[in-house]
């Protein structure tokens, strides 16, 4: 169903943000754009939940945010993932794989 985007599944946003930042530091909008691109335009981050998620991740020490200026001189924050964030990403990926695998079995059954 190309063209139709999916809202991000509850509980997976952390993984997506950490994954998006795994490549390099990004600002908020770029993160949502990166997630869209990485998911081949399928996953649409509900922007409203992006910023609270960024704050939450920052509070947990998984990412850091730094004030910066855009090319046009606009104020923005650049986020980068920390060592703890990268470890967390690995954990999240494991959990997700287990979950997705289980889902696969359930769907394939019968």
């Amino acid at each position: 169903m190309p063209g139709d985007s999916l809202d991000v599944l509850h509980g997976t946003l952390d993984l997506l943000v950490l994954k998006a930042l795994a490549v390099g530091p990004l600002h908020g909008w770029a993160i949502s754009k990166r997630i869209r691109e990485l998911s081949r335009e399928v996953l649409e981050v509900n922007q409203g939940s992006l910023y609270p998620a960024l704050y939450r991740l920052e509070n947990r020490g998984w990412i850091t945010g730094e004030e910066a200026l855009s090319n046009e001189g606009r104020r923005l924050r650049i986020y980068r993932s920390t060592a703890a964030g990268r470890k967390q990403l690995a954990r999240e990926i494991q959990v997700w794989k287990a979950y997705a695998g289980a889902m696969q079995h359930v769907i394939a059954a019968g």
Binding site: K33, G48, R74, R75
Partner: protein, 877 residues
């Protein structure tokens, strides 16, 4: 980790609010940038600019809503949460009126009583004296080690020598009480004092109207001048400014008013000084230099002098008086702080009271704490649920802290109300002679202290409760399951019981000592019978009763007329009734001049004195009703003096020399029983009675024994006095019973207050222990049910709980007795007629508290024994 960084982020935002605002601004900019980027992106994908902007904004949602959500995590949320928690706490408190009332009232009681007692202690002991640089003010006494005098009043020559020779004082001043009859339409006895010219300057006090005394007054011989107190000025002269320069009559002589002291001037009440309504100049002269020791001396230390250096200086000055002037052998001088002197005797009992009320506060906090812990325990499932639903541990702790804070504020508000009422009640109960009673009030300092006490209490409470409130970092559902059957925290509960019993024992044993001491004082055989006796002082105006014959005639007639009143049994006139202030004492020597000499009180009494006071005669006779006004002097001595002079071999007819007015030789005509002359505590030191007829005076105490209520005789006495001379006033009217009572009023006060505290403490301990055990039993319902299901009998369950209560109570009692014994050591100067380590009283108090604790255990224990095992096991979780 996450909680820590949370706190860090918030701290940063709190300590740097501009950065916080900036963070907000940054958030704003960031989101706007997001929308702009999104808009551009959509334009790039082919939307019209307007369409792109509209949809980007729509998809983003209201910018503000998300800002709100983000802000949630920042400092501003704390305040919102606080308000939420407060509202929530109020709801919880409203839903649990029993718990709320018990906790708030206990809290208020603790804070209120502490503040009230502190206000008294502060006013009397701690508040600086109302003089300029009060810490430099001292009193200087004469001392005589051999006679055991450590604060003797001072003779005029010594005062003059001290003043001339010392190097430690800016100045020394002297004051001596001088009661007088203030003439006018209503003659009135007033408390006056004679002061040396520099007296007010030493205190740093100045008249508010007119002028003070000057050295010129003394050198130019102006002695008929007077300074009025604010009180007397307002009461008798309407507070009129024209008083300065007016002439008033004192003891029938004219005095010119030169000034009025300010309203807030408090005369120093030390030694034998009482309240003062007016001041007259005291000028040393040949006459008063021979009067012996009677001056109260105060001084102001030089800036470079301390009490210790002044003491050394004065000791050497006193030595030089002995060596250079060849007089004053055996006497030295002692320098003490004026503040200490003004509050010396009451300092210790008041500090003990403060300590006691502190313990009471501790008990109250403990009780509120145990009530709250139990309350929190019952809320454990709820708190665990909150944790499970995602509330952080910090959030739950904050909620519990808010709970305590709200409770504390309610308690503090009621407590401060209680404090104001309590202070008023305490002031009303203060013994009349309590120094500086007027300085007791609830003011800023006292309130600040009580608020800090309240804050401290809240903090303690919060710490106790919060420790219980944390369900921990564990999995929420596990916590819920565990919380319902939770039996932990028993060690803490045991500690509470031990603490409550121990504090109860300490308070009750200290109170017990004071009460027993007061009873001992009350039961002292005074040597006379104070019941049914009314006394008053009569001072004849000197100018109309100049001759001894006229004085004698007046008192004779008054005695006959009052004696004829219905209900009067006996009328006597004497200088100084028992328990009156300040009568002479001197040395009495057996003749021929042997070394046998003793200090004795001197009293001038008439023939009816011993009968009126029911003082028993031991040997010889008392004065005849027609004692000769001339010729040989007769003396009656008491048993103690007789024993001291000749080891009991003094016989009737012996001659003694009494060290008054250059030595009075007298024949001993009789021996009477010992009488407590001035107070209940001190053992009579010996007394010699001389005939009032032989030594007439314008001042007499009238002592009337009646058959009914002695107060009822007063109107008749006034009538008879007025019929003889309307210018003569009846002053210091009191029953002897009241006079004796007033002398032990301080002990009564201490005993009453401490007794009250002990009662409150026992009640608090009982309630607290009951609370702890009731909570314990309800928390262990399941365990008890299980035990019973496995075969334990109700009796065994009862025994188990009672034994646990008894063990804790005995442990508390042991700790309490040890603490009580240690504390009571500092009280040995206060108690009368018993040892502070009296084992009997400690044992009985300990037994009482253990009994109270057992009683408090019994009800929950019985309830436990009645637990239906099946029901208990089915219920819960």
């Amino acid at each position: 980790m996450s909680a820590l960084s949370n706190v860090w982020v918030r701290l940063r935002q709190l300590v740097a609010p501009p950065a916080g605002n900036d963070a907000e601004g940054l958030l704003d900019a960031e989101m706007r940038y997001h929308v702009d980027c999104e808009t551009k992106d959509r334009i790039a994908r082919g939307m019209s600019p307007a369409e792109a902007r509209r949809t980007a904004l729509r998809d983003f949602g209201g910018v503000d809503r998300y800002k709100e959500e983000v802000r949630d995590l920042s400092a501003a949320r704390w305040i919102d949460e606080m308000a939420d928690d407060t509202r929530f706490t109020l709801r919880v408190l409203r839903r649990n009126p029993g718990y709320t009332a018990a906790a708030a009232i206990t809290f208020a009681l603790g804070i209120g009583l502490t503040t009230a007692v502190f206000s008294v202690v502060y006013g009397v002991v701690l508040r600086p004296l109302p003089y300029a640089d009060p810490e430099r003010l001292v009193a200087v006494w004469e001392t005589h080690r051999a006679r055991g005098r450590d604060a003797n009043v001072v003779s005029v020559p010594n005062f003059e020598s001290w003043r001339a020779a010392n190097r430690s004082f800016d100045d020394l001043a002297a004051i001596v009480p001088a009661p007088a009859t203030l003439g006018g339409e209503m003659p009135e006895r007033v408390q006056g004092a004679e002061v040396t010219a520099r007296f007010f300057a030493v205190l740093g006090a100045r008249p508010v109207l007119g002028r003070g005394f000057s050295d010129a007054d003394a050198t130019e011989g102006r002695s008929n001048i007077v300074l009025l107190s604010d009180g007397l000025w307002r009461r008798r002269f309407g507070g009129s400014d024209s008083i300065v320069g007016r002439t008033i009559s004192l003891d029938g002589r004219p005095f010119t008013v030169i000034g009025v002291m300010p309203r807030d001037f408090v005369p120093p009440k030390i030694g034998w000084l009482s309240d003062q309504d007016l001041w007259l100049p005291f000028v040393p002269n040949e006459q008063n230099r021979g009067w012996g020791r009677f001056l109260v001396v105060i001084g102001r230390l030089k800036d470079d002098a301390s009490i210790a250096t002044a003491q050394r200086d004065m000791a050497s000055v006193a030595e030089r008086i002995v060596s250079d002037e060849g007089r004053n052998t055996g006497w030295s001088a002692r320098v003490v702080s004026l503040a200490g002197e003004m509050t010396g005797e009451v300092r210790r009992p008041l500090l003990i009271m403060l300590g006691a009320v502190g313990l009471l506060l501790l008990l109250a906090i403990t009780n509120v704490g145990s009530l709250t812990v139990d309350h929190i325990r019952r809320r454990h499932p709820e708190l665990a649920l909150r944790r499970a639903l995602g509330a952080s541990a910090g959030r739950v702790v904050r909620q519990v802290m808010t709970h305590c804070l709200v409770l504390g504020v309610i308690g503090a508000v009621i407590g401060i109300g209680t404090a104001v009422i309590g202070t008023a009640a305490l002031v009303a109960m203060l013994p009349p002679e309590m120094p500086r009673g007027g300085a007791v009030r609830v003011d800023g300092t006292v309130l600040a202290t009580s608020v800090s006490v309240a804050l401290f209490a809240i903090l303690m409470l919060g710490v106790i409760a919060a420790r219980r409130g944390i369900v921990g970092e564990r999995d929420g559902t596990l916590a819920i399951r565990e919380a319902a059957g939770r039996t932990t925290g028993r060690a803490g509960a045991g500690g509470l019981v031990i603490g409550e019993v121990a504090i109860g024992v300490v308070l009750a044993s200290i109170a017990g000592l004071m009460v027993q001491s007061f009873i001992n004082l009350r039961d002292v055989n005074l040597g006379f019978d104070p019941s049914g006796v009314i006394t008053a002082r009569i001072q004849l105006p000197a100018e109309s009763y100049e001759s001894p014959a006229s004085q004698r005639a007046f008192f004779d007639r008054l005695g006959r007329q009052v004696g004829a009143l219905p209900g009067v049994e006996a009328v006597s006139f004497a200088t100084t009734r028992p328990f009156a202030c300040c009568a002479p004492a001197t040395s009495v020597t057996l003749q021929p001049l042997k070394s046998d000499s003793a200090t004795a009180d001197v009293r001038y009494v008439d023939s009816a004195f011993f009968a009126a006071l029911r003082v028993p005669s031991r040997a010889g006779r008392i004065f005849a009703s027609a004692e000769s006004p001339d010729g040989d002097v007769n003396a009656v001595v008491d048993e103690t003096l007789a024993r001291k002079l000749t080891a009991g071999r003094l016989s009737i007819g012996n001659r003694v020399t009494i060290g008054l007015s250059g030595g009075i030789d007298a024949t001993v005509i009789g021996i009477v029983g010992d009488v407590h002359q001035a107070d209940v505590r001190s053992v009579p030191r010996g007394a010699v009675y001389l005939s009032a007829a032989r030594f007439p005076s314008t001042v007499r105490d009238i002592i009337v024994r009646g058959r009914g209520r002695p107060e009822d005789l007063v109107p008749g006495m006034r009538r008879e006095l007025e019929s003889l001379d309307p210018a003569v006033a009846l002053a210091q009217v009191t029953t002897l019973h009241d006079a004796v009572g007033a002398s032990i009023a301080r002990d009564r006060f201490t005993a009453t207050i401490l007794g009250l505290f002990a009662m409150v403490a026992i009640i608090l301990a009982m309630v607290g222990i009951y609370g702890v055990f009731a909570a314990d039993v309800s928390a262990r319902r399941k365990e008890i049910g299980l035990r019973m299901a496995l075969g334990a009998s109700p009796g065994a369950i009862l025994g188990l709980l009672v034994a646990r209560g008894a063990t804790l109570a005995v442990a508390g009692a042991v700790i309490g007795v040890i603490a009580g014994v240690l504390l009571s050591r500092s009280m040995s100067a206060l108690v009368f007629g018993l040892q502070t380590s009296d084992p009997g009283s400690f044992a009985s108090v300990a037994a009482l508290l253990v009994g109270v604790a057992m009683a408090a255990t019994l009800v929950p224990a019985i309830r436990a024994a009645k637990v239906d095992p099946m029901e208990a096991l089915r219920s819960g979780a």
